[in-house]
């Protein structure tokens, strides 16, 4: 799947996963939580929503973190993303040493360029240290993956999301399925199997409007989608810099400043 589609899918999946995790656990004989069975109607809705998200050409996305999430430097992201090819532009709000900083960004040709605190545009590679917006719609790492992995899906009524009527679905999602949206790369995040409470809101047109996941205690990540299939023009910033100031003091012997990268 193209990268834009993966982003949309990721967002959808995140929401779905979060919704399921919120309500879908029961206890087995050992006392451990086991996923409750999914309601067929809810599962069908999630499948349709995942399919719709994977087929998106673009969308307006927002990502909001409430609470502490160590894997993310960003506390919020607002962006317009395309899926074929994957590209986008927007602004991230970063937690910079306890204070917030704005970081406009452009994602193009598998590179994220950001201008943190208006100090200059820098190439941030896949964007993990700002926010990898390409993952939101990614079928395997984003919203679609969350939707398809939601366990114990149950419909929980209808609500308006930004003025759009949507069906609310709750359940749980394996924590590893959320790593793409949170940006966590450590083993504890990418291989975690813990069930995370997840809620997804799906519009009457089977588009994902919102996904909310609880990746940690008292912490939620909320992803919203709107302007489904809207595409935007994206261009690389003209003044991307590669600052190369040299440190005036030596690094400790046990911390070399460079190491050969594997070929």
């Amino acid at each position: 799947m193209h990268r834009p589609n993966r982003l949309v899918a990721a967002v959808v999946a995140l929401g779905a996963a979060a919704a399921l995790s919120l309500t879908a656990c029961s206890s087995d004989d050992s006392g451990e939580k086991a996923p409750a069975s999914s309601d067929p109607a809810a599962s069908e809705l999630l499948t349709k929503a995942a399919d719709s998200t994977e087929a998106l050409k673009g969308a307006h996305i927002t990502v909001t973190v409430n609470g502490d999430l160590p894997g993310m430097n960003a506390t919020s992201v607002v962006a317009d993303v395309n899926t074929d090819p994957v590209s986008g532009s927007g602004e991230a709000t970063l937690n910079m040493g306890g204070t917030e900083a704005k970081a406009p960004f452009v994602y193009l040709d598998d590179r994220l360029y950001a201008n943190v605190q208006d100090k200059g545009w820098i190439d941030y590679g896949d964007g993990r240290s700002i926010y990898d917006a390409s993952k939101v719609l990614d079928p395997e790492a984003g919203v679609p993956a969350i939707l398809r992995s939601l366990e114990g899906a149950q419909e929980a009524g209808k609500e308006d999301v930004d003025g759009v009527s949507a069906t609310k679905v709750t359940g749980t999602v394996p924590a590893s399925k959320v790593a793409g949206l949170t940006g966590a790369t450590g083993k504890s995040a990418t291989e975690a199997t813990e069930a995370l409470d997840t809620t997804v809101w799906v519009t009457d047109d089977n588009q994902v409007a919102k996904v909310e996941v609880a990746p940690a205690a008292e912490t939620t990540v909320t992803v919203t989608l709107s302007d489904w299939n809207k595409t935007v023009e994206v261009s690389k910033p003209d003044d991307v810099e590669t600052p190369k100031a040299t440190p005036t003091t030596s690094a400790p012997a046990d911390q070399p400043t460079r190491e050969k990268a594997p070929n």
Binding site: Y124, A189, R258
Partner: protein, 129 residues
């Protein structure tokens, strides 16, 4: 942010939400006179995974937290810093590491060490950006 809050945050960053709270709770608060906050970045060259830790009361605690957050067998701490920022840069030939009182300078040092390329990851302690 007070020290207790920072410790909890650092713990969370190091080992994930649930475990983080445990780590944060097990670390004794820094003495009232100590205002040095340590951070660290760990890197797993084979997987590309990184681990971040910030606002710990000692270098060793920050290093252990970053190592734990990274989690893979080949994870190693590549830079530690106090009251500032750390950065990892990647180029076709090298991983480069930098640390400085502010992010821009830390990134510059990392890119210089890598011989160019792009910023792979970074983190700052409280009060530094």
């Amino acid at each position: 942010m007070n020290i207790t809050r920072r410790l909890i945050t650092a713990g969370l960053a190091a080992v994930g939400a649930g475990a983080a709270l445990t780590v944060g709770a097990s670390v004794d608060p820094a003495p009232a006179h100590a205002y040095d906050y340590y951070g660290a970045l760990a890197l797993s060259p084979s997987t590309g995974a990184t681990g971040r830790a910030w606002d710990y009361p000692s270098e060793s605690q920050a290093a252990n937290a970053a190592q734990g957050a990274c989690g893979y067998t080949d994870c190693r701490v590549v830079t530690t810093f106090v009251n500032g920022c750390g950065a990892i840069a990647s180029s076709p030939s090298y991983w480069g590491y930098g640390r400085a009182p502010d992010l821009w300078t830390a990134q510059s040092y990392a890119l210089s060490a890598a011989g160019g390329g792009y910023i792979y990851d970074w983190v700052c302690t409280s009060g530094h950006s």
